[in-house]
């Protein structure tokens, strides 16, 4: 066991635990921000300022009874939440969240703050996102319930529709970054123009950023695109029949997917760990700040905007978002050709 290998293993476990933690924190933040926006107090009884509320929620979920409809397909019913949670965790493996570090001189060779440095990282994220549809679709189908099935079908249609725009927004950044590796793309965003404006791709690709965030919200099934679980029509959508820890897995997957979408947005558009005032080795603080800002925006959106209608969602996805992202990609390609000769 070389020190580097041990560091890698520790890093992997660390990322895993931090993702779990981030879901817990997001549950608390979501409830507190919602309360603030609605002039309520939110959770305040469990722990100081209600900080232990997520823990109480987890304990409650663990002690609930695990239910399964009699007509459900037992194997797939058990498999679906596992697929959802696995995909959510797996996607974060290729996301870099800091510059190389020697951990204050502990290691001889620098360690990259990233579980796996894959040279096609962007495509890996896209691939895992496309696999996570299966968790939701299978949950809907295997429950053998009309609400679940409709929720699952809606969700798959929605995810397939918005995946195209999501992919095209990624592609326009790939052209700018001239690489498929996320750490390369982040490294190209260091420094600034005229010493003022940081070289973040969001300033070159404002439309791409908007498309990415819109499609990202639709991909993670969050309001205002949370049709798979539109409660007025579908009770709770694809996870209507789930209870206890298998419900918790879907819940976990949703929040971790949000974190991953925000982290990828930070790497692709907001310069990753680059930022003023802090040395390169503390760049991960900037990374956390940026991810937190996007996540706050996510929650803010949810409690501000009403849900669309389903046909509006489809029309928007295919007739507005997709053409705009194709045009954006063409314009980016033309611009890069023109300026780089």
């Amino acid at each position: 066991m070389t020190p580097l290998l041990i560091a890698q293993i520790v890093l992997t476990l660390f990322v895993f635990v931090m993702l779990l933690n981030s879901a817990a924190i997001m549950v608390y933040v979501e409830r507190k921000v919602a309360a603030m926006l609605q002039q309520r107090l939110g959770p305040y009884l469990v722990g100081p300022k209600g900080l232990l509320q997520p823990l109480a929620d987890v304990v409650k979920l663990m002690f609930k009874e695990e239910l399964r409809p009699r007509a459900a397909d037992a194997l797939l019913f058990a498999l679906a939440p596992v697929i959802s949670a696995t995909c959510a965790f797996a996607a974060f493996a290729v996301v870099p969240f800091g510059a190389q570090t020697t951990l204050f001189g502990l290691l001889n060779t620098p360690l990259r703050l990233q579980v796996a440095d894959v040279n096609v990282a962007v495509l890996v994220i896209f691939a895992i996102a496309s696999m996570s549809v299966y968790g939701i679709v299978l949950a809907g189908w295997s429950s053998n319930s009309k609400y679940s099935l409709l929720g699952g079908l809606r969700s798959s249609a929605q995810m397939i529709s918005y995946e195209l725009s999501y992919g095209l927004a990624l592609a326009s950044v790939l052209i700018l970054g001239n690489s498929l590796s996320l750490s390369d793309i982040v490294n190209r965003q260091g420094g600034s123009w005229l010493g003022l404006l940081p070289r973040w791709f969001v300033f070159v690709q404002p439309i791409g950023f908007l498309i990415y965030m819109t499609a990202g919200i639709a991909e993670t099934n969050r309001a205002p695109f949370d049709f798979p679980e539109a409660e007025q029509e579908l009770v709770a959508g694809y996870h209507t029949e789930y209870s206890s820890m298998s419900f918790a897995m879907f819940f976990l997957a949703e929040y971790i997917n949000m974190v991953t979408v925000s982290a990828v947005a930070t790497d692709l558009f907001l310069g990753g760990w680059h930022g003023p005032f802090l040395p390169e080795s503390l760049g991960w603080i900037w990374f956390l700040v940026k991810v937190a800002a996007i996540l706050f925006f996510y929650v803010w959106m949810r409690w501000t905007l009403p849900r669309y209608r389903y046909d509006q969602l489809m029309r928007f996805g295919w007739k507005i978002l997709l053409p705009v992202s194709v045009l954006n990609l063409l314009a980016t390609a033309a611009g890069v050709l023109y300026f780089r000769g």
Partner: protein, 168 residues
Amino acid sequence: MTLFYVFGAVAVVASLLVIAQRNPIYSVLLLIASFGALSGLYVLLEAPFVAVIQIIVYAGAIMVLFLFVVMLLNAPHEQTEQDERSFALMRSGPMRFGGFLAVALALELIWALSNGRGLGVLGPGAGPASVASIGRSLFTDYAFAFEVTSVLILVAMVGAVVLARRGE
């Protein structure tokens, strides 16, 4: 090498189970598992780009549509053919057609394996298949095939729309 056998075994077993299943949903899922194992084999061949594309295009996009269709049709368990003649080519209807297809496929496989001109599409000296090298050969050497394929897909799409709307 161990990994090769693991992925290979998963791919072969899953593919066999695809046709051995009576429930079409399970067939679809097993086919996805088989594609996943193939993707693992591509990674072992140092072609990560092809591996990821395999997942995105086949496992991610095409199989979602398959699953969608199977679920919407809510296809019941496959009806077993009552024809008891043991040799598939002697049976009636679709079974005979399937038998002919299987024989044709087996002959093609034997021909392809015995006349194999070696594998390796990119030609010698291409090194590990990088995204850049795949893109370059796709848009220079194979540009015609690439463009013709896109026209073919367009034709198939228009055909599907025409067929679907004929009833109206």
